[in-house]
């Protein structure tokens, strides 16, 4: 008897928790809040635009793009099972793919058939000076050539010559240059990932250049 009541209360509490959790997470539709002082706009919710992941690395049947009504969906592997034991990051797949390779935790094939073929790795860092206060960008060939082939980047995305390419953050966010991969499959552009690329600190005496409007400003 007691165990049955225990189960019941556990069940009820779980249901309540799930309801609360979902109601909070689902973007609540705007509704008018009635108070003693009359109608108040429902627009003044705390986060108008911020959307947070309800759940990281959701299993396929719950991820919103796989159809749970399809039987095959339930055969697919949930990512978290595969990621167990891999070093983590704060963005993208939440897996540090570069470190996983370096530590020998993963051994993806470089050849479709032969698991023993080794990649053609080139260790050459390219430093790109950044006009803004952000640390300078270091482009490391090593992690890239561990995954990719030279022809994936040269010459279609980058002319293989130091500083021959015009790169800017806008271009990257538009999906060009580094943004062909970063923000799509390789680690994304978020506050927490900026310093992965912007990794070379500016000299101690560096100051941001002043804009012309500021230099000419008569009220300064």
């Amino acid at each position: 008897m007691k165990t049955k009541y225990f189960f019941l209360s556990v069940l009820a509490i779980t249901a309540l928790l799930v309801v609360g959790f979902n109601a909070q997470a689902a973007q609540a539709p705007m509704k008018e809040v009635k108070s003693a002082k009359g109608k108040v706009s429902g627009a003044n919710i705390f986060n108008r635009l911020l959307k947070k992941d309800k759940q990281r690395n959701a299993p396929p049947a719950e991820d919103g793009i796989h159809d749970p009504a399809n039987d095959g969906t339930h055969v697919l592997q949930p990512p978290l099972i595969a990621y167990d034991g891999l070093p983590t990051t704060e963005f993208g797949n939440y897996v540090d793919w570069v470190k996983s390779l370096d530590d020998g935790l993963l051994k993806p094939r470089y050849d479709r058939f032969d698991p023993t073929v080794e990649p053609l790795v080139m260790d050459l860092d390219i430093v790109r000076e950044v006009r803004a206060s952000m640390p300078d960008v270091v482009f490391p060939h090593k992690p890239h050539t561990q995954w990719l082939h030279c022809s994936n980047c040269h010459p279609k995305i980058f002319i293989p010559q130091r500083n021959a390419n015009v790169i800017s953050m806008s271009a990257i966010l538009l999906g060009q240059k580094c943004g062909v991969c970063h923000g799509k499959v390789s680690f994304p552009i978020t506050t927490k990932s900026c310093t992965k690329c912007h990794s070379k600190p500016k000299p101690a005496d560096w100051k941001p250049p002043k804009s012309e409007a500021s230099l000419k400003n008569p009220w300064r």
């Binding site: 019941l8 719950e62 966010l173």
Partner: protein, 162 residues
């Protein structure tokens, strides 16, 4: 919550149904049903998409042919292959939907068919493994930075003033 380690919602639902049967009888049964129903109601709520970063939905033709869109999981494949295998050797272009994949090409050994041929990986008769997308989902690379922006991508002024 219950999904933390890969237990799907339908599995959870099955467990609950089992509980319901277990508690057969009287008012207890009723309260079990209330719990069960509220749980089910929650599961029916529309969910925001939150798929794994870099999952590609390919839906150039599938919907029109009455198939669910194909979903390609990058994370699963990059554990097994480097990008070079697909994007250099097999010639997949870096563009979701840009390769105009069809079943005729796949059974001809191109694109997915270079591996999903019963030799390197399971064969094409497993339609539901690839065609697993929610019907009507447009072609996209899921979870991309651009998709997550609050406003359209910023376009710079061009050359900064000298």
């Amino acid at each position: 919550m219950c999904a933390a380690r890969g237990i799907t919602k339908s599995q959870a639902a099955r467990v609950l149904v089992f509980f319901g049967e277990f508690m057969e009888g009287g008012s207890m049964f009723k309260s079990a049903m209330v719990g069960l129903l509220s749980m089910l109601a929650v599961l029916m709520l529309p969910q925001a998409a939150q798929a794994e970063y870099a999952d590609v939905v390919i839906n150039n033709y599938a919907d029109a042919a009455g198939m669910r869109p194909a979903v390609f999981p990058h994370w699963y494949h990059r554990i097994r292959f480097r990008c070079k295998v697909c994007h250099a050797d097999l010639g997949f272009k870096f563009k979701a939907g840009g390769n105009k994949i069809t079943m005729a090409k796949i059974i001809d050994g191109k694109f997915c068919g270079a591996c999903h041929n019963g030799e390197i990986s399971w064969s094409v008769e497993n339609c539901g493994m690839c065609h697993s997308g929610v019907p009507g989902t447009p072609t996209q690379i899921h979870g991309s930075t651009v998709q997550r922006l609050v406003a359209p991508t910023y376009k710079s002024l061009g050359k900064p003033a000298k």
